[in-house]
Symmetry: C2
Subunit: 319 residues, 2 copies
């Protein structure tokens, strides 16, 4: 079963809501927004929102559509800004917004999507707005920590976990918590689903970082080895750098600001031959299992089942 | 009398609130934020907020401090992103954030300030959040329109007014309206103060654009002729380009993507010798007068007087 099967209708409603949100009298803003949003993506954040809302017994779906759209809009804003920062040329199989439209327009379009996300999420109570805003602050904190460790071979695993918790896991935790709250979940249930979102996010990001090394480029929709090339310290890279004399060689390559194509190829070879991929997969699975365990608080339902499936899918995916 | 005299205490409270908002476990985020915010600035937006709140009879000052901080935080976010987009090296007499910290950190810090602004403004009712978010969307729309007319000598005065309405006047209109609403103003009063903010913002931006040509660099805190150099079409530049054979020469210089120092000097000379500065000042004064007229709905008070003084100060300032 595909995880999104029971909520296809709701996910379509979210797409419609997102399209409505990015309408602007400046058509270029709408165009750049839809360039990114329309390119696809897994819609994990809205999916988690809707499933959590339904799993706790929420019935008035229109309530959660705005929240789901808000998180996807904010996520899309960060994708545009991240690409500017990484110099990322390909995103979701398409040329990235800043490459197509230039830095100036992409930067403004990112701000526009942020604003629209906040507007969509801002029509709820103070508590909801604060959870959303705080998760966004965590995103910025994760990003800034990552920027501080670019090309740094001494980045610790703890720092890595702190980075991905901020930039990926906290917003998914927030979307789960807010949706469970809106659906009428008890404080314990809200907490448990927050924990689900947090661990799902960690598993998701670790898998992303693994796929950057082992994935198939046509399925990924972007070239392999981007993280290494950009100097982004990921779990498999950190683990492999700690591993013997080959690790030392990898560290030397990693700390170079400009890496040549053959150096990236050499790094990918070292990474593939190390235990780092396997160890990272085990770590991702561990987080995925923690996410699944935290669902035991829920009554069995097709939505609870889908949340489990999602946590499993995240660590089995190929893109 | 200085316009901020009756609200010095409240403006200090806003400074404290802003400092509190930008605290982060990532000290670098706080540092970059304070680099921009601590460099000064005229605090027009928080000033308008507090004066409007008090002028309509609002008494619970703590209510408006959050809103005032929100608008200044959002404004600071756009300053950081604008500097990235313009390549602006000097801001408020200090080196700009992106020059000091690099594009990556500055971009994230801008996002962080956006988020903190929304958090500060998000603890109010749905209506308030929507007014704030909509004014921010107008800002993005104004910016994108401006980017589309960079180095374009055929930019019309109407387009210029649309640009500055979006990027400057709409947020000031929003801060006036929201504050009058929170202070308990009637719908007519809220509307009138919104009109005040809108016209004040137009006058303010036109004066900014004039000072970029005629200002003293040590008072401005940045070099002269930046707008012409960046290819930003401003009212004095547009008016001067329409003016005879010298205007044709100015247009030729304006459309060059890379302008040499002597070309900017020549342009400044043409601008200074034209009627464009005087005509632009008259336009700014017209907006300032409209702002003052809209205050007639208020009961006389020290705050109403200060709003008038502010509108006069804006068109008489030297920086």
């Amino acid at each position: 079963m595909s995880w999104d099967l029971p909520i296809r209708k709701e996910l379509n409603m979210v797409e419609e809501e997102i399209k409505r949100c990015v309408q602007s009298q400046q058509q270029l803003l709408t165009e750049i927004s839809m360039h990114v949003i329309g390119a696809g993506g897994k819609r994990i954040r809205p999916g988690v929102s809707i499933l959590c809302y339904k799993a706790v017994g929420g019935t008035e779906v229109s309530n959660v559509i705005g929240i789901a759209a808000a998180f996807e809009l904010i996520h899309s804003a960060t994708l545009i800004h991240d690409d500017i920062n990484d110099g990322g040329t390909i995103r979701r199989g398409k040329v990235s917004a800043f490459r197509k439209y230039g830095v100036q327009l992409a930067l403004v379009a990112g701000d526009f999507l942020f604003v629209k996300g906040f507007r969509a999420g801002g029509s709820f109570s103070k508590e909801v707005v604060e959870i959303i805003a705080d998760s966004c602050a965590c995103m910025a904190e994760g990003e800034i920590l990552q920027v501080g460790h670019i090309n740094d071979p001494s980045t610790s695993i703890d720092t890595y976990f702190k980075i991905i918790e901020g930039k990926t896991a906290k917003p998914i935790e927030a979307s789960a918590k807010v949706s469970a709250f809106l659906g009428g979940g008890s404080p314990n249930v809200i907490e448990a689903l927050g924990f689900y979102g947090l661990n799902l996010g960690m598993a998701f990001q670790i898998m992303d970082d693994i796929l950057d090394i082992v994935g198939k480029e046509d399925i990924l929709g972007k070239p392999k080895g981007m993280d290494f090339s950009d100097g982004t310290p990921t779990l498999p890279i950190i683990l492999a750098m700690e591993d013997g004399y080959k690790g030392k060689r990898l560290s030397k390559l990693f700390e170079k600001k400009k890496k040549r194509r053959w150096e990236i190829e050499e790094a990918l070879k070292i990474l593939m031959e190390s235990d780092a991929i396997q160890l990272s997969k085990e770590k991702a699975l561990e987080f995925s299992n923690k996410a699944i365990e935290s669902l035991s608080i829920l009554k069995p339902s097709v939505y609870e089942e889908a949340l489990k499936t999602l946590a499993r899918t995240v660590v089995e995916r190929e893109s």
